[in-house]
């Protein structure tokens, strides 16, 4: 019975996620269009709502060209290797107090393991393509992801110290009781560092040197066509949603309401908005996804050495410093976390 329920949950999460990805692409094009003072796609279907469906159909119909000098097996396995971790990571994400696929204690560790696994898909894609541009893109992506993984991991150490658990549900619960209890205030530098590293980790603008259209064409996925390319695309967006969700869970109180802990609403009809709900998680995730697109519309691509410098010389020291500060705060009994 539990197996059936788990399978149902997996199905619900995966299908919803894929639908969200489809419409996220539409949303991205609209947001960036609006920021360019354009109106974005509006021709396919009413207001362009069928644009993503048309894109997917186009990719499905197109031929998958495999270069003759490519390693056939790895070439075809690489897209899957990047998509699978991006989807598998959702297993431990708590969507609400009760809805979670696998409520394991080492959830955070599992996430760290799986998000770093995603880089293999990119390395293999670049290697198996047997193309200069793809290989350069893969090299860049690898170095960048490995570098930012560290800053990300250290930022999570801060959350782990504050939440006192590796279980994501427990981390959210330890942030209950209003906006001021969320970890983004005591861990503000880590919050910023985590989100910046997340943007770099997903190879999104302004850290998208792995694609770098202007110098290496399309980076690691230059030889991919049709749905094989579509899968890489899908993985990138799944990772984006994952980063947005993780940031919401660890720093913005997950499913906790923005209005929780406001006593003046008690007894009125607005009391319902103070209750924790999956809706609040969706709102927070949407805000972060909007920031992803906002950054893409605003900032030019960083130079490669600037990215490395930012990762190693700025973000990593900041996180280490703040972990020290947090330890001092913990000893001095400052901060919202429950001291055991």
């Amino acid at each position: 019975m539990t197996l059936v329920i788990s399978l149902m949950k997996i199905l619900i999460v995966t299908v919803t996620l894929l639908l969200i990805i489809a419409y996220l692409i539409y949303f991205e094009r609209k947001v960036i269009g609006y920021m360019h003072v354009r109106i974005g796609p509006n021709r396919t279907g009413p207001r362009g709502w069928l644009q993503s469906i048309a894109d997917i159909l186009k990719l499905l119909i197109k031929e998958i060209i495999i270069p003759s000098s490519a390693d056939r097996f790895l070439f075809l396995v690489a897209p899957l290797l990047s998509l699978v971790p991006a989807l598998a990571a959702w297993a431990v994400i708590p969507f609400s107090e009760s809805f979670i696929i696998a409520d394991i204690d080492a959830g955070l560790l599992y996430l760290l393991a799986l998000t770093s696994f995603g880089v293999y898909g990119i390395i293999l894609a670049g290697w198996a393509s047997n193309s200069k541009y793809a290989f350069l893109g893969a090299m860049r992506a690898t170095a960048q992801m490995v570098a930012y993984e560290i800053a990300m991991g250290f930022a999570l150490v801060g959350v782990l110290m504050a939440g006192g658990s590796l279980n994501l549900g427990v981390i959210v619960e330890s942030q209950s009781g209003g906006v001021l209890n969320w970890f983004w205030i005591p861990l503000f530098p880590l919050f910023i560092v985590y989100f910046i590293s997340g943007v770099a980790e997903t190879n999104r603008h302004p850290f998208d040197v792995a694609e770098g259209e202007s110098e290496i064409v399309a980076g690691f996925n230059v030889e991919y066509s049709g749905i094989a390319f579509g899968i890489f695309f899908c993985a990138e967006y799944a990772n984006m949603i994952l980063i947005a969700t993780l940031t919401s869970i660890m720093f913005l109180g997950g499913w906790e309401s923005f209005f929780a802990g406001t006593s003046f609403l008690n007894g009125t009809i607005f009391e319902v908005i103070t209750e924790p709900n999956i809706f609040w998680l969706a709102v927070k995730v949407s805000i972060f996804l909007f920031i992803f697109f906002w950054l893409r519309a605003s900032l030019p691509r960083y130079r490669y050495d600037q990215i490395m410098k930012l990762g190693w010389k700025v973000l990593v020291p900041i996180t280490i410093l703040w972990i020290g500060v947090e330890g001092a705060m913990y000893l001095a009994h400052i901060g919202p976390w429950k001291i055991t």
Binding site: Y34, M35, V37, R38, I39, I192, L295, A297, S298, L299
Partner: protein, 161 residues
């Protein structure tokens, strides 16, 4: 790396400034022109598809002087001529290769009898390779079909020439 610089970069001041600008644009009125339904205004001097004109009595203007063909930088115009029964010189072949034509308008300026002119038509296409050759008949037909519109444009533009 002064202290000021370090503070400026760590607080992400410049990035926030940039983000504010894009957010302002996000809420401004969009300037997109929904092309097939809405069109941008065209200047009367717009140089589009070429056409051959006739006199009001229906006689062809072209006298086969071949000045247009000579001035054409893309060498898109091919002309062959013969003496007609009434003693006038007329073209027997007047062809423009639409793929070669660069719409520079030199032919129009060179023409002593205002025979070859440029209309303001820019929305046309061909589906087969051989359709790129605009024959004399086709050019004359374009001239007739869009006569009024083209003449209005030429009159409007004349005062600025």
């Amino acid at each position: 790396m002064t202290i000021k610089h370090i503070i400026k970069t760590l607080t992400l001041t410049d990035i926030v400034k940039g983000l504010v600008i894009t957010l302002k644009n996000f809420f401004t009125t969009k300037i997109t022109v929904q092309y097939p339904e809405v069109k941008t205004p065209l200047s009367p001097r717009f140089r589009g598809k070429l056409a051959l004109m006739r006199y009001d009595n229906g006689e062809e203007r072209c006298i086969a002087c071949k000045l247009c063909s000579a001035v054409c930088p893309a060498q898109a115009i091919t002309i062959e001529s013969e003496e007609q029964t009434d003693g006038t010189r007329r073209t027997t072949k007047f062809e423009i290769d639409a793929f070669k034509c660069i719409y520079c308008g030199f032919c129009e300026q060179a023409c002593p009898v205002d025979s070859i002119i440029e209309t303001d038509i820019f929305e046309y296409h061909m589906t087969e390779n051989e359709q790129r050759i605009q024959t004399k008949e086709m050019l004359l037909k374009t001239g007739e079909d869009f006569r009024e519109r083209t003449l209005t444009n030429k009159i409007k533009d004349a005062q600025y020439k």
